[in-house]
Symmetry: C2
Subunit: 492 residues, 2 copies
């Protein structure tokens, strides 16, 4: 397989696909719209999942597991939610195949095994979960319920892109139930903060916290909070959402609780989720034309040591030193691989680890050891340094921290440079065409205007930032009065 | 909800259901045959999963993720596998619902959104994975592939039982590819050993390692290895399987590799899996008429501390001491909860934690603290001891180890007592009716005889134990010559 990567300048979209496929994160599959997550990509997902899972547990949540299938009658119970997802759901109609009488060795759907009620493969689990919560909740003593699920979901997408938009994807979905509106709102923003901190501290990806306009709201939510990130091509990417569901699902599934005064009321709900889409965001936020750049805190492999053998005699000496460095690094909790595979040359290995975004590469030859030093290369800047072997494990752990910070700072500087104000429609269109990025502009607050802007430019309101400055102005398109600027962008 | 548990003697099957439901491990769902795994049950699964996952990685495996759906043409490619699973598979035929024109607010399957090719919801993933491996394998350098997947699978079951037999369940499935038959066989038995060690060391559940007869083999395997456990009602339960798949899937999907001499050959395969069924096995292996008994090494909660308050004044003193004990235990890696919830009485709490199988309970009153002691109760034997507070965290960690061993020894003694030899058909039937358990008996080696025995008694051959003693004898049913005894039992 050619390992050459298309440059961003030449074809951004092909560059992205090259990184995913040649970086061995994922692969296309025989199933339309579904992908195979390869071991390297899955290890990245495991690292992300483990951090999030720990944070969910620290904030009082427990994991559980609910059925993959949603009976049609439950699926349609919350009308807006059903309307939003009906257009793109996989439907199970039969529970058996049988031999094709006309075609030996082939199978056909058995018409005698038709389900009485069709089952929808979950596109999201509010319906099945709120139908379950009905049995769990009688009084305020049963609240709050703070549950999360790690699962696969299916949304039938016509135009798919690896990680960014696939028919099946992996995610977590939190579903909480509360006695009061205030508590549910607090949960919604608390989980948004968990996502934002995760994106910034671990993925090194700066995000803007905001709330969605009505057009972009989750089907069935009262309010959708989101974190929005900026990709290198100037398009935004929604990296996580946290929904305040009000009493919509409680009403659809008749979930009431007796409060302290024994009065019955509907339960308040939130749901929140992030998915394997984050991997797509991570790739596009940091990587370059040589391959992936992964933040050390979630990289599947943080350090690789490559020996530069010179004749058979050098092997034992180099191996011994490498093993010793590896042992020191592992004792410090660093994930490290010693790649002494004889069948490929050091140069090939360098390119491969560069492509796969391993944050630090250490090259070790006989001369190096004689001089008590090694060559250390960092992936993000491609800087190489000759470093003394004394205390090299401390040097590397510090370097990993430095890389994590540098990747974040670089992405943040890029993001900050790419938030522009537009006060006229001409400016708005010009910025969209020349720079992309976020455009901070006034909007008259109507869904119609937002829709019109989308039709004209493909840009949508990514969010109304939290703690947004109030400022009188005129809508960029209609000139109608506006009280605050909102953030527009073209988006994934 | 009444927390009373039906006794095993009165109704074993109802006892089991009571433990699962009232112990809050799982719940029925609105979807026929699917269950909801509740937080306590899921925490147990997480602990089991984490141990297994670590062992898989230690033995060189990596996780990946493959599509939920298998296109029908791939599903039918390996004929025996297809035949085995076609009878019980969920089939997706459409990708959209639409509004029912005759029934406002209701949805119907959109006939315009019929799939060109039906998709089977994976009952197991050999087909989709081997179709993928075809693209990954060219030469011996690409081998072995040692991949595992944690996933949900669906097998349409008509008679379901929580954890033991559900339409959807969670599992892991390892799928490996090798250059030689010997290497694949070695992998098959290596993973069987991983399962056996896990069952015995963590689940405290003794198992017999063996190989299946042809009748009980996995559809598409050359040989199925298994671990078999014995439940308290004398029925056996298959707790894990490891399949040697030969070249069957490689041939079905045309997966060849070039060996060192550049000769093409089909790749050798294994697959191996355990599922949430293990939770059913765990419950039935150890629990008693008061509730669950969970082995400390995988219990979601190992220790609970219950304060016995006597007036408001006692609270501060007891809380302080409890917090201090909790801190010591956590420092030793023990999971511990201090249940100082005022709204329920100590007696109610004792019963609840007993029902949920928390291995150690510590009760702490003012008098206890004055006497520098606490009451420690172990769940398995229900013994209570007054223990000095000096070094109580060491006492408890030792006690947890002791309980782990005691639970295993008890289950092993029961299992060993319930392996009986039968040399006549009358003995065979009598043992099955009066004792149950495993029956070691001669069998003529034919599928027909095994089938006949099953029809007559419901007993099947659970396995031919590994390293089985060779011994001439006569088949228990036909009197035909036999070279070794095999293990029969009725099974879940």
């Amino acid at each position: 397989m050619s390992k050459e990567i298309t440059s961003r300048a030449k074809d951004y979209s092909q560059w992205y696909n090259d990184l995913i496929i040649k970086g061995e994160l994922a692969d296309y599959s025989a199933v339309r719209g579904c992908m195979v997550i390869k071991p390297y990509g899955y290890a990245l997902w495991e690292n992300m999942r483990d951090v999030l899972d720990r944070r969910f547990k620290e904030t009082g949540h427990q994991n559980a597991y609910f059925p993959l299938f949603v009976p049609k009658s439950l699926f349609e119970a919350e009308e807006k939610n059903a309307e939003g997802f009906a257009k793109e759901c996989a439907v199970v109609t039969h529970y058996r195949l049988k031999s094709d009488p006309n075609n030996k060795g082939k199978l056909i759907v058995d018409p005698d095994a038709k389900l009485e009620e069709e089952l929808v493969v979950r596109p999201t689990s509010e319906a099945i979960i709120w139908n379950t919560y009905k049995g769990w909740i009688q009084s305020y003593r049963d609240l709050p319920i703070l549950v999360n699920q790690w699962a696969n979901v299916v949304r039938w997408e016509m135009r798919t892109r690896l990680f960014l938009r696939t028919a099946e994807f992996l995610w977590q979905e939190g579903h909480t139930a509360h006695a009061t509106k205030e508590e549910a709102l607090e949960e919604t923003t608390k989980m948004l903060d968990v996502y934002a901190q995760f994106a910034e501290e671990y993925m090194a990806m700066p995000v803007i916290r905001g709330v969605k306009s009505a057009n972009e709201r989750f089907a069935g939510a009262e309010d959708t909070y989101c974190i929005e990130a900026l990709m290198q091509d100037g398009k935004a990417l929604q990296a996580g959402t946290s929904h305040f569901l009000g009493q919509n699902f409680a009403k659809a599934f008749d979930v009431k609780f007796a409060d302290r005064d024994n009065k019955l009321d509907y339960v308040w709900a939130t749901s929140w989720g992030v998915s394997t889409r984050l991997i797509g965001a991570l790739v596009m936020a940091h990587s370059d034309d040589s391959g992936l750049i992964l933040p050390p805190k979630i990289a599947p492999l943080q350090v690789v040591i490559v020996p530069i053998y010179k004749g058979e005699d050098s092997k034992a000496v180099i191996n011994e030193k490498a093993e010793s460095i590896m042992k020191d690094l592992r004792a410090k909790g660093v994930s490290v691989k010693y790649d002494h595979d004889d069948s490929s040359r050091p140069g090939w290995k360098f390119a491969q680890y560069e492509l796969q975004g391993v944050p630090v590469r250490l090259a070790l030859g006989l001369r190096d050891i004689e001089n008590n030093q090694a060559e250390v290369a960092r992936r993000d800047t491609k800087e190489k340094n000759t470093v003394t072997l004394d205390g090299i494990s401390d040097y590397i752990t510090n370097l990993l921290d430095e890389i994590q910070t540098a990747i974040f700072n670089k992405a943040k500087a890029f993001r900050d440079e790419n938030i522009r104000e537009a006060d006229t429609w001409e400016d708005f269109e010009r910025i969209l065409e020349t720079n992309g990025g976020f455009i901070s502009a006034h909007w008259d607050g109507t869904p119609e205007t937002e829709e019109l802007i989308k039709t004209k430019t493909k840009a949508t309101i990514r969010c109304i930032p939290l703690n947004n400055k109030q400022e009188a102005g005129k809508c960029i398109l209609t000139g109608n009065p506006s009280k605050e600027r909102v953030l527009f962008a073209k988006a994934y």
